[in-house]
């Protein structure tokens, strides 16, 4: 290498692909080792693109990715170079080193509290009724609390379930749950991978204060036609993908549907509940076209519905309740130069819930939902070998429909209309990853967000019981907020195997989920910040220690955090909903704060691998209008949360997986007294969330058998046998009180009843690939 003088810098850039199907690989690592032992490298972005800058000279470029054989490319760098690489999936070549993890990635990156999960990892986890689930896998990570058994609502570092930004190919998924939250909407066959960011959110993300769950759909095999599928206990899946024009364009269609209740129909027919049914389905579609190395477009779509039908012949009731999400994303990747990558995205997304009930002459229809039109531009600018910049702009037009509908009985009509709400949301951001020296990296970002509620809107100054209303015209600003959101993260490498990281972030959130119940239900409604509701905002500080052992065989991390959340929303303890009164009238506002420690140990190589996570945390709420103004634990305050996930490869054909989870019971409010009013027994309640349901714990096991591992055979199949809740623990789902009888008739009794959901459930799934 030359010494002194001005060194001429050149750029090596390109894409990293999976050789078997042409899918771009997200977060693949590319690096060179200099003669003095220093390393220069980069990770591919969500479209598989990378760019690094090096002085003129000879290099060995090392490309590696989880589960794939590492590839080394020798170059003599004299000018800017385009280098696309196709990596080969590990299992198919035994003689090459297969990387289990991006080398030292956890120690080297500035990302804190970020976990990436490939679909293979997600699939290795035993699943309820054999339904592999992205969200369920994320719930096993430290710092993430599941709401309880079979609930896809997640609580990250003391934040609420609406404080997670859930994205599917850049489209916001407002309700990620199917079947009242028991399963998530992500069909595992259509998913490439998912990442969770629970702290130190980069400036490119915003709009939520707790976390980001970013799910990427597969692009579709552009080498050959492929069919994947599975038949399970409650649902079946089928995915078709293939090239439209080889190496240039491809498509993917994935469908999934449940049928458990269709099977039960003949039995139900003989009862008073004939025709009662429940099912959900998903449809994922994706197509992409590569014009050149510089331009590529992607079109992806998701459509899913849950349909619940309830018939009761006795009281002649008929209910139909469909709900679900639809999203469409159009993306255009453009390379302005080998240093400037642009992604332009247009998104439409829609969440709808409707409810129709009929009983004799009485009919009722209620609808609610949220619809977004979103456009954004993100630029990755590989400015120099020391600076990587990212900047962009994001715009969304929201339309919120709170409960609207009608009721009629005979010829009496009645309209419910709380009025739609409209809003503009915008954000500008810039972010710089700066390698100050080999040890020190600083990521600074700033996001400026804006939210504006606009007309048409009718404002009643004193709630519903106000004097004169104010009418806002279409597009007229009702209220505007600006949110400055600084983000800082840094890493100090003690040596190649150990590092310390620290982060600070400030986030604003302008949309809120209103739930009058204790579970994530389709009736939950999204409401915007408005005249009545201030935006939520949060601050998070975190500090962590990261360490790798035995050449990445083991990794260990410990993080502590403190999170402060302002303008948190709860319902008043004396809330009752009046017809035609805005639901916001029932809100009370306060502060939330949470602190804790997360330990994570992971073994990623060898026959025996898996992870262990432990979280110690405290989550509090303090509201002037709740609990007499005293602080109280949040419902999902978890003192201890443990998750263990292990996989053991018995032999080439057989592997055994197991998980065990333990969590302190949810906090809840107990009735403590009763008294007489109007000769009825009335219940009085104790301090808010002062009691705990019993601790939750459960073990699941799964056995996977792959009969033929011959790589030359196109048809591959896999049998998965799993047992959910192996030791049949009756975990309390909720406690309620049964009061029966009549005070004045002298037969009144009150009992506490614990309801648990899933006993031991074995299930069987057959998966195939062709």
């Amino acid at each position: 290498m030359k010494i002194g003088a001005q060194e001429q810098k050149f750029t090596v850039s390109g894409y990293v692909y999976d050789a078997s199907n042409g899918e771009s690989l997200i977060g693949a690592s590319v690096y060179v080792t200099h003669s003095d032992g220093r390393k220069t490298g980069a990770a591919t972005n969500v479209y598989g693109f990378y760019s690094i800058q090096l002085n003129e000279g000879n290099y060995e470029l090392v490309y590696s990715y989880v589960g794939f054989a590492t590839q080394i490319v020798k170059i003599n760098l004299k000018s800017n170079l385009k280098q696309n690489v196709h990596l080969i999936e590990g299992q198919e070549l035994s003689e090459v080193v297969v990387t289990a993890e991006r080398k030292d990635e956890n120690v080297k990156s500035t990302d804190m509290g970020k976990v990436e999960m490939g679909i293979e990892m997600i699939k290795s986890i035993p699943a309820l009724m054999g339904e592999v689930d992205v969200i369920k896998a994320i719930q096993l990570l430290p710092g993430v609390q599941a709401a309880g058994e079979g609930n896809s609502g997640i609580y990250v570092r003391g934040g609420g379930p609406d404080q997670n930004l859930v994205l599917l190919d850049d489209a916001i998924v407002y309700n990620p749950g199917h079947m009242f939250g028991f399963f998530s909407v992500f069909n595992p066959d259509a998913v490439k991978g998912a990442s969770l960011t629970k702290g130190g959110m980069p400036a490119s993300y915003g709009g939520r204060i707790s976390s980001v769950i970013d799910v990427s759909m597969k692009e579709g095999n552009n080498k050959r036609f492929q069919m994947d599928g599975g038949i399970g206990l409650i649902s079946s899946r089928l995915t078709l993908q293939g090239p439209i024009q080889k190496d240039k364009s491809s498509f993917l269609i994935a469908a999934r549907r449940t049928y458990a209740f269709d099977i039960a129909q003949p039995i139900l027919k003989k009862t008073d509940f004939g025709g009662t049914n429940y099912n959900f389905y998903d449809l994922n579609l994706k197509a992409n076209y590569t014009f050149s190395d510089k331009d590529r477009i992607f079109l992806s779509g998701y459509f899913g519905r849950d349909v619940f039908i309830y018939n009761n012949a006795v009281n002649k009731t008929n209910v139909r309740m469909p709900w679900g999400n639809a999203t469409t994303t159009l993306r255009w990747n453009h390379l302005f130069s080998d240093k400037l990558f642009m992604n332009t995205t247009l998104v439409f997304n829609d969440y709808q819930f409707s409810f129709t009930a009929r009983q004799l002459e009485f009919q009722m229809l209620v609808k609610s939902g949220v619809r977004d039109f979103n456009a954004k531009i993100d630029l990755d600018h590989y400015a120099s070998s020391k600076h990587k910049l990212k900047y962009g702009y994001n715009y969304t037009y929201h339309i919120f429909t709170p409960n609207t509908g009608s009721m009629n009985s005979g010829d009496t009509d009645f309209k419910i209309d709380e009025g739609k709400k409209y809003a503009h949301e915008m954000a500008w951001y810039v972010q710089d990853d700066w390698d100050i020296n080999d040890r020190f990296r600083l990521s600074t970002g700033f996001r400026l967000s804006m939210f504006q509620q606009v007309g048409p809107y009718k404002y009643l100054p004193d709630g519903a019981y106000g004097k004169d209303s104010v009418l806002y015209k279409r597009g007229e600003a009702v209220k505007t907020w600006w949110g400055p959101e600084p983000r800082i993260a840094m890493r100090y490498a003690i040596n190649g195997k150990q590092s310390i990281k620290a982060g600070f972030s400030m986030n604003y959130q302008y949309v809120h989920l209103v739930s009058s119940s204790n579970s994530t239900l389709p009736t939950d409604m999204w409401v915007p910040s408005s005249k009545w509701v201030e935006p939520q905002w949060g601050l998070q500080y975190s500090l962590g220690y990261f360490r790798n052992f035995k050449d990445n065989d083991y990794e260990l991390s410990a993080e502590i955090y403190y999170k402060d959340m302002k303008n948190q929303i709860e319902f008043s303890e004396s809330f009752y909903k009046e017809l035609n009164e805005e639901i916001e009238m029932g809100y009370v506002f306060g502060r939330g704060y949470s602190y804790g420690m997360e330990l994570f140990a992971k073994k990623s190589k060898g026959k025996f691998n898996g992870w262990l996570g432990y979280t110690l945390s405290y989550t509090w709420r303090k509201f002037d209008m709740l609990n007499q103004g005293n602080k109280f634990p949040a419902r999902y305050d978890r003192r201890h949360d443990i998750s263990v996930n292990l996989v053991y490869e018995i032999n080439k054909k057989l592997s055994l997986g197991g998980t065990w989870v333990y969590a302190t019971g949810n906090a809840f409010t107990l009735p403590i007294e009763k008294y007489i009013v109007d000769f009825m027994l009335i219940t009085g309640y104790g301090d808010r969330n002062a009691y705990r349901i019993p601790a939750f714990h459960r073990m699941d096991l799964s056995l996977t058998y792959v009969p033929n591992k011959n790589p030359n055979k196109r048809f591959k199949s896999e049998y998965n046998f799993s047992i959910y809740n192996v030791y049949n623990r009756k975990n309390t789902y909720f406690i309620y009180y049964k009061t029966e009888g009549n005070l004045l008739l002298g037969n009144l009794t009150t009992k506490a009843v614990s309801v648990s959901l899933f006993p031991i459930i074995p299930s069987f799934t057959w998966n195939f690939k062709f």
Partner: protein
């Protein structure tokens, strides 16, 4: 909304759920006095005073008496007048002639046992010789001294608004042609924020209430609005509710409807209380803390500005 109830049904049908009775150790509540006092136009004020008890404590109906608080000093006062209430126990009331007992039972909505006796309770009201009655438009203060505690509350008797018209319509299903639904027309005052509570009585039975027993004027402020007047629910019957007949009146019934104007705080009390009652046992519902207007205790001191309207069946 009925979503919640429906979701429970959905759950029971869909889920392999398992229920078991459990023992929950509850802390003992702080001792509280529960006030249930009313003042109505042309009716003397009366107050029931009871104690709270532990949630899982056995409630002994045969000894209801022990929940009633004795020996309190209760004063009801308006701007111009004041009176100390006296205590009557049902033992005393049970000496009254049957006719008067029945009238009282009707008024309080109490059942009479086979010997025409009122359950063992006690009530504070004006002395027999007093002519103190509620007057429209006045504010009334309540002050209670008992067991070294002082409880206070304020209410008012709003201007009454009666039904401007009552009529019946046939049951929607011809299967039940002996039943009718009662409808009424209310001419709501111009100002928003009028609250109503209504009571129904059929022929010579006791007054009954429906749930919700209160309504506001959000829907029909300042307008003449039509409302259904379902027959109240007989709380002392063990019969299962049949939704096809529930709330309907018989064709031959004489229908009495007492419509009372109440204050916002009085309305909030019943609204939260009835909301809590309807949510009880619902796993999806959150609890409701009942809004009381009693300083130093629980319960209600409520004024009624009432008018009773009658619908006579067409012969």
């Amino acid at each position: 909304m009925c979503f919640k109830n429906l979701l429970i049904v959905a759950f029971t049908i869909l889920m392999i759920s398992c229920e078991k009775e459990i023992d929950v150790k509850l802390p003992s509540p702080k001792d509280q006095i529960v006030v249930e006092g009313y003042i109505e136009n042309d009716v003397p004020p009366y107050v029931f005073l009871t104690k709270n008890s532990a949630y899982f404590g056995d409630f002994d109906v045969n000894d209801l008496d022990k929940y009633f608080v004795k020996g309190a000093k209760i004063i009801v006062s308006s701007d111009s007048d004041s009176i100390e209430l006296v205590e009557y126990s049902s033992e005393l009331i049970n000496f009254l002639p049957d006719e008067e007992k029945m009238a009282l039972a009707q008024f309080f909505g109490l059942p009479l046992d086979s010997n025409f006796n009122i359950p063992k309770i006690s009530v504070y009201t004006v002395p027999l010789e007093s002519s103190f009655v509620g007057e429209i438009g006045k504010n009334y203060q309540l002050r209670i001294e008992v067991d070294n505690k002082i409880l206070t509350a304020t209410t008012n008797i709003p201007n009454p608004v009666g039904f401007s018209k009552l009529w019946t319509e046939p049951h929607p299903s011809s299967q039940y042609d002996s039943l009718v639904q009662l409808k009424g027309l209310i001419r709501d005052p111009d100002t928003l924020g009028n609250f109503y509570r209504y009571f129904t009585r059929r022929n010579s039975e006791a007054f009954t209430k429906n749930y919700p027993s209160v309504l506001d004027d959000l829907m029909g402020n300042g307008k003449e609005f039509e409302t259904q007047v379902p027959l109240g629910y007989n709380r002392f019957s063990d019969e299962e509710i049949d939704f096809n007949t529930f709330g309907f009146w018989n064709k031959k019934d004489t229908c009495y409807v007492k419509l009372a104007m109440i204050s916002r705080t009085h309305y909030d009390f019943w609204r939260t209380l009835e909301n809590e009652l309807s949510n009880q046992g619902s796993p999806f519902g959150s609890y409701t803390r009942i809004r009381s207007n009693i300083k130093g205790g629980l319960g209600i001191w409520g004024g009624y500005g009432s008018v009773t309207s009658v619908y006579y069946p067409i012969e």
